[in-house]
Each structure stands twice: as structure tokens, then as C-alpha cells.
Subunit: 504 residues, 2 copies
């Protein structure tokens, strides 16, 4: 008898449709099909890969109303956010298609021979990145579209030429199945084999574990909690043949606000920070969790203003009951600490479903507890009040690897040491803005030192995300006819290459 589970509307707590849990046999079949596609070389066809990515984007846009309606009921995220996320998802699929057109995933390098080189002659060396193999993607709870079924990990893995098997997040199984339906149709439209993409719906951990263990799976993409990502990393490292795990595990995204910035525009900063903390229930990997604010009157007024704004915000609907309970418990522990003070009223949330009241807390920046630097996944922020530059820098030094670090300063401020401290521990340093709302640009970096991610050299947003799923192969003195088109002398695909050390 098949196991089933129901989706839940977090706005009401009521059960939605029933979904069938993927079986071990489903996992084996998906992995075998993906491995067969990889071996066949079908995904090496650059034109078909680009067609798949563009086709998927078009189909997702066309099915937008259906997708957004189901996602709204499954996640409680507001419709405009979901429409924006859908457009982002389609846009990044198209951006990766452009990468495939340009050949940037291949990073083709051609070194012509040099028979006179010392100490030994240099042969003809032509090298390109080739797909690693089937990729397992773990969908995120908080981005049902952009970091899930057809999200950034899937788009970049397909762009790299890897078949993808998604383990969908149980918070939005219906959304995942609709998106998967469209992606599978795009696979067929592009003339690619069925095993190119699979979506496994599951509420238990067994499906994910089986995917990580499958010998044919070559890499894992994950967005979620530290505990989830680290468990997958450890499991993959213990395999007889270890595989890379690209886990993005969130962070506290520290913000530093200078005295001058408060003097110049405290209200504007409070307004922006309120949105960055509370929008979408604060359930963003880049939500600012800790804000450094100087002690003194300016800072006090700013803290009071921020608290009032958060108090006035409606209670946030969180993605699911487990997340809500975990947040409530963590915030209770934080608030119970002797050095921590609640800044506002933080009324108990009203209404059905899974809700949490946006709230701010504060503590002295020199408080020693590591607990102050823990992530609270939800609409909660902790202000750390420093009495001097030294105290600020000492506190920053205690912060582990981060996705982002933000500085709100004025032109006259001397900020070099703060910027250095942020850049030393964060993947992205944001100036005079907020870390949430990660735009997809070529060079965007969404990653960072451990424990923000398990693979600091890599990003899960931006075009270089494609490099997570490839490895180089060099052809030495190969006859032209055996070379892949990317490496032939006349460059029949017209891709970008590095020839004799120089990009062209």
C-alpha cells in the first residue's frame, strides 16, 4: 500500500490534497534513467539544452496562474511575491540558456603546441568542462519556485548537461508536481530523453538518503537548514566514492549601521530593515538576523522606531508548523537570556494557521554567548549595541561564515576595517541596501564560507553556478574528428574560448 501525505495550507492549518510518497523503487528508476541519459551523451547537445531551458521558462510562464494559485495555498506566500518568483525562475532558466549558447559552461581552453618549449615540448591541449553526471537537487521550503523543482540548482545543472532528480520539499508538493509536469514537457519538446528530469515527491528522509547514496548520483544541490545540509554533506563524504555537496545553509547576514548613517537617514533605514526582516515571514536565507547599532540616543531612537514598525506589522504566516514551532522555541530561548531585551511588545500572534509576530530584540555587542549568533529563520532580528569601533570589530571577528554582510554608512565614514571584516567572512558585501532580494546577475554570488555553505568556492545564484556540475577533460594531440565541437579549431559553435592563454 502506498504511503501518502497531505499538503497543508499554513494560513489555516487545514489539510489540502493527498500526495503519494515516492518509493525506493521510484528512486532506483529515476536514478537509472538519469544515468542512462548521462551515458548516452544526449545532453551534450548544446542546442537541445538551450531549447529545454527556454522551453521550460515559456511553459512555466504559461502555467503561471495555476502554479501561483497552488503555491499560495501551500506556502502562504503572497501572490505578488510568487508572481515575481515565477518570473525570476523563468528568467534564470533563460539566462542559463544564454550561457549555453555562449559556451561559458564549457570554459573551453585551447593551447596550441610548442615543440620548442623547455624542459619538454608542449603538445596540443584542448580542454573543456563536461557534465559530472546525474545531480540530486533538494528543493527549498522557502522558495517553492526559484530554489525548488525548476529553480537555480536545476537550471544550472541542466545547463551544465547533467540530468536532474529533484527531491521536492514536502511544504509544497502540489507546486512541485505542476512545475515538474511542465519541465518534463519541455524535455520532450526539446527532443531530449525522459530521464533528463525527474521529480520525487516525499515527506520522509528516506528518498533523500537513497539519492545521496546512489552510486550513479554525481553531485548534490541543497538549500535549507544547517542540520539538513550538514547531514547530507557528511553522508556524501562517507560514500565509497564521495561526491560534492553544494549546500546553502543560510546565515545571520550581519548588518553594520554607522552613527553617521543613523544621523542622516534613520527612518529610511528602519523602513528598509523592517521590510528586509519581516517580508515573506523573514523566511529568506539572506534575512538580516543581527544588526550592529551604536549605543546612545541615535541608536536608541532607531531601535524604538524599528520595534514599533515590527509591532505594527501583521503576524507572518510561516511555511509550516515545524518551522513555526522551531522559531517560537528559539526566540523564547533568546528572549530568556539575561543580556537580551525585547524591544517591542511582540504581541502573541492572532489568527489561524502557523503565525509568528515580527519582533526585534537587543543585547550588548560584547555579550559572549554564541547563541546570539544563531540563525532565527523567521521575522526576528537582534540588535547588538556597541560602544566603540573596537567592540564592533571584536564582535564581527566572532561571526562565522556568512552569505552576506551589509554596511550602511555615509560617504565620510572611515569603513575600511569594517569592510575587511565583512569581506573576510561573507560571500557578498552589500552597501547602503539590504541583503534580501538577491538579483540574478552574471557575477552574483550567493554562497560563503562554512557554515553558510559546504562549498565556499561555489555559488547557487548567478551564472557561475553552472560550474558546480562539471569537471574538465583535456584532449592531448587529438585528431580533429574525435574532438567535441566546442574544441574544434574552427569553433563551429561560435562559443567563447581561451586560446593560447587569452580569452576570445
Amino acid at each position: 500500500m502506498a504511503l501518502t501525505f497531505n499538503s497543508v495550507d499554513p494560513r489555516t492549518g487545514e489539510a489540502g490534497p493527498s500526495f503519494t510518497e515516492a518509493t525506493p523503487e521510484d528512486v532506483r528508476a529515476a536514478v537509472a534513467a538519469a544515468a542512462a541519459v548521462h551515458r548516452s551523451g544526449a545532453l551534450r547537445d548544446r542546442a537541445k539544452r538551450a531549447a529545454l531551458l527556454r522551453g521550460a521558462a515559456a511553459r512555466l510562464r504559461a502555467a503561471g496562474d495555476e502554479i501561483v494559485a497552488v503555491a499560495e495555498a501551500e506556502t502562504g506566500l503572497p501572490e505578488p511575491r510568487l508572481r515575481s518568483e515565477l518570473e525570476r525562475t523563468a528568467g534564470q532558466l533563460e539566462a542559463f540558456a544564454a550561457i549555453v549558447d555562449a559556451g561559458d559552461d564549457a570554459e573551453a581552453i585551447i593551447d596550441h603546441p610548442d615543440p620548442d618549449a623547455v624542459p619538454i615540448p608542449k603538445p596540443d591541449v584542448r580542454r573543456m568542462q563536461v557534465p559530472l553526471g546525474p545531480v540530486a537537487v533538494f528543493g527549498a521550503s522557502n522558495f517553492p519556485l526559484a530554489f525548488s523543482t525548476a529553480g537555480g540548482d536545476t537550471a544550472s545543472a541542466l545547463a551544465a548537461g547533467c540530468p536532474v532528480i529533484v527531491k521536492g520539499h514536502p511544504s509544497h508538493p502540489g507546486t512541485g508536481e505542476i512545475v515538474a509536469r511542465e519541465l518534463r514537457a519541455a524535455v520532450a519538446d526539446a527532443g531530449l530523453p525522459d530521464g533528463t528530469f525527474a521529480n520525487l515527491t516525499a515527506a520522509g528522509v528516506e528518498v533523500g538518503e537513497a539519492l545521496v547514496d546512489a552510486p550513479e548520483v554525481a553531485a548534490v544541490g541543497f538549500t535549507g537548514s544547517f542540520n539538513g545540509g550538514k547531514a547530507i554533506f557528511d553522508r556524501a563524504a562517507r560514500r565509497p566514492a564521495p561526491i560534492p555537496v553544494y549546500a546553502e545553509m543560510g546565515s545571520i547576514n550581519p548588518i553594520v549601521v554607522t552613527e553617521a548613517a543613523l544621523r542622516a537617514r534613520a527612518e529610511k533605514i528602519a523602513d528598509g530593515l523592517t521590510a528586509s526582516v519581516a517580508n515573506f515571514g523573514g523566511q529568506l536565507c539572506t534575512k538580516p538576523g543581527v544588526v550592529f547599532v551604536p549605543v546612545g540616543e541615535q541608536g536608541d531612537a532607531f531601535a524604538a522606531d524599528l520595534a514599533a514598525r515590527l509591532d505594527a506589522a501583521a503576524p507572518s504566516v510561516l511555511l509550516n508548523e515545524r518551522l513555526r514551532d522551531a522559531l517560537r522555541d528559539a526566540v523564547d530561548r533568546l528572549a530568556a537570556r539575561p543580556e537580551v531585551r525585547a524591544l517591542g511588545e511582540a504581541p502573541a500572534p492572532d489568527g489561524p494557521g502557523f503565525r509568528h509576530q515580527p519582533a526585534a530584540y537587543e543585547a550588548p555587542a560584547d555579550a559572549a554567548a554564541d547563541e546570539l549568533f544563531e540563525e532565527h529563520f523567521g521575522p526576528v532580528v537582534l540588535l547588538l549595541r556597541h560602544r566603540s569601533r573596537e567592540e564592533l570589530l571584536a564582535a564581527l571577528e566572532r561571526i562565522e561564515g556568512q552569505l552576506s554582510g551589509t554596511l550602511l554608512a555615509e560617504p565620510g565614514d572611515d569603513v575600511d576595517d569594517i569592510v575587511s571584516a565583512l569581506a573576510a567572512r561573507a560571500g557578498r558585501v552589500v552597501f547602503d541596501g539590504f541583503p534580501t532580494g538577491v538579483a540574478v546577475t552574471y557575477g552574483m554570488h550567493h554562497g560563503g564560507p562554512f557554515p553558510a555553505t559546504t562549498s565556499p568556492p561555489h555559488t547557487s545564484v548567478g551564472m557561475t553556478a553552472v560550474h558546480r556540475f562539471t569537471r574538465p577533460v583535456a584532449f592531448q594531440d587529438a585528431p580533429e574528428h574525435v574532438l567535441p565541437p566546442e574544441l574544434r579549431e574552427d569553433n563551429p559553435l561560435g562559443i567563447r574560448r581561451r586560446v593560447d592563454s587569452v580569452p576570445s
Copy 2:
């Protein structure tokens, strides 16, 4: 009292000078100094980095006679090989200096803002690769210069801007100390702090373990055995904050010889293969361990010719007693297998020191034993005889990740399936040549799927080796004055960058 050990001349087995084992305190001091250099940002100075690399190359060349004499006595490798290896070592230091000049290590990306982008405006994003932090390098036994103290791992880590701590190989401690002396002098000449480079001499495993465990160490480079590399990989993965381990662990580097190639030039192939198997005691990571040869008269004649050539070769001096004993035991086990046949006389090696007679064995390609695909680190090769293309391809499918795969064929041969099988499991596919003698070119790839390496996307030879030791940092909407020079609008360093998606 300090622990000491003696170097050993493998040509005679006699003890050489005594060396002092590095202590736990030495490890702590080297790590602390390296971490301080990393925090100081001193190595971010591109001109000083390039000066260090070029200065080291010049100093190594100037000290060449002294280095080669000591290395010869410690490794038994012939002087011309060591002179060539020294030039290669100097040359790759200079090649990485050129990379630093060109800024290729930085992979700078500049995305100008687009306020009209959908679904959200695109900010100004400027991204570059920054050094990971102190790198621990484990010197190799078989390349006392090019893969040791100032070898490829050290050169690429310094080029990336990372301080380096070398754990020298106990087979050549004196060589390591002279090279380290020159490298430290080059550090001083370049105006860089002392902690930029350290060399720890050690015969035990404790120094290496302490380096891998040190919280400040950010990455590990290793060249050596599977057991050694895998133990370091596992240890690094178990750290509270795991770090990347770039371990190159050798392979059997399969060669396929077609019937047509044998008909056209059997003698030339036997000559080249003899050198590739037996030169330098066969102690190369890319030494061909398995050669696929068709059954039949042509193949039999080729096998006999190869065996005669290897029999006629002088016994090889191996690097140390442990290696010699391990090889002898492994070859004894191989030769004792019922399906394996010794092709020549393989006389017991004569002479003092640690020697092994070059030798060839053969077995049917359809023999099932995994032991036939084990690496024998030394002058030994196994011919696998296949009766059909199907048998050849089936045997290739059983081979794990490799550094290289080689095809010796004639223009008329239909080789697509063989090339695909080799490219699917090897980092480099060599045509009509031999895999040994890895030239340093921009795109050279010396790496491959596990178990050839622990990090298939990376290479330890060629210019892209620098990317093992960096991570990206993106600056979003940063004022010009806080940006590193690599990312300033006017490109004051004149480095290569990718601006608005296009390399320039």
C-alpha cells in the same frame, strides 16, 4: 629531546644526514604565522605575489647544482631528470606569476546596474576570487621538486594569495630544506612577511594530521597514494568546519592500442611504452599500468617485444624501501593469480639499495578480478588482451576514475566509442603518445574522477590549478573607494575581467 631521522640514499640503502622532526609547537607556530599573514592582507598585493614567484624561480635556478646533487642522493632519480624537473618547477612558478599579472586568479566580474530589470532591479555587482586562507601542502615522494616544497601546489596557492605550509616528504628532507631556504629568501626579497611560507620536515604522520586539523588551515593540497590522500580527505571532512582537500592519488592510466596501430608501428609503440613504464622507476602518477592489446599474432609479437625491452632495462632504483617492498608484494600477488602470466624473465634485481626489475604481465581482458585494475607504483605494466571491441569496451567500463586514458590508433580506425569510454572516466585523453611527461600548459588537466582525485572538478597542473585556493566575494553597490583595485571601474591593474557578461 628532539626526534630525528636520517635521509637514505636509495641507490645504496645507506643513511645520509640527520634531520629534526618538526614538533607540535613548530606546527602551531607555522599555522599562527600563516594565519596572521592571511589576516594582514599582505598577499593581496599582486605585484609582490608576482615578485615572490619570479624571485623563487630565479633562486631555485641559481641554487640548481646544490639542489640537484642533494635530490639525486635522496631519491636516486637521474641528474638529467632532476635538472628538467627543476626547470619545470621554476617555469611553473613563472607561469603563475604571469597569471597573477593578468589577474586570471581573480576572475573579476563586473555587472553594471540595470534599474529596469524584472522582476527586480539589478544592482551594481563586482566580484572577484579572494584567497581561502593558509594552505597545507603535502609534498610527493616521486617529484622532489615539481610536486613538493616549491612545486605546483605551493606555486598555485601563493599565486592565489594564500600562505603555504609544506609538510615535506621524508624521502627527500634535505632537498626540501634547501628549496625552502630559497623560497623563504624570495619571500623576504619580495617584501612579504615571513609567515608567507613554512616548511615542516617530518617522517611521522603527526605533523600532517595536526595541519589538517588546524582551524586556521583553509585547504589541503596532496599528491601521493590513495590511502594517504583518502585518510586526509576523511579527516578534513570530519573537522567541525570541513575544508577542501585536493588529493591527487594516482591511477592505472589505461592505454588502448588498436590492431591497425600495431600493424603500422608496433616497434615504435613498444619503444615508447617501455620508456613510459620504466623511466624513473615507473614512479609517475601517469605511468601506464594497464594496456589493452588485441589477441592474435600482432599482439603476441608486440607483447614479446615489450617484455624483451623491459627485461633488458636495468633494475630501477625506487624512491625508498617501503615503496620497493610494497611494489614487490603487490607484483607477487599479481603474478600469483591464475589468469596472469609473466611475459618476460623478470630477473631478480641485482645491486645494492632498493631496486625492482621492470616487467610486463598479461591477462585476458575479460578476467573478472578487480585486482587487475590496481595501481602498481613502479616499473610494471599489465597487458589485457581482448578478443573483440565488445570485450574491450566492457573492460573499460569496469575502470574507475583515472588521471589519463590513452589511445594509440591509426587515422582509419573507428574509435568514437573508445574515446567516449576514456573521456567518461579520465581527466585527460592522450592520442598517439604516452601519458607520462605532463607538460605545463594553460589548459593542462592533471586530475580526474574519484579515486584518481578527491576533487574531480580541479587540476593540480596547469594554470587553472590556482582556482583551488580561492572563493568569490561580491561587492554590491560598493563605493569606488572601498573596492579592491581589481574591481575598480578604470581597471588600474589592467587585468582581464568579464564586464556585463563579456570577457575583455
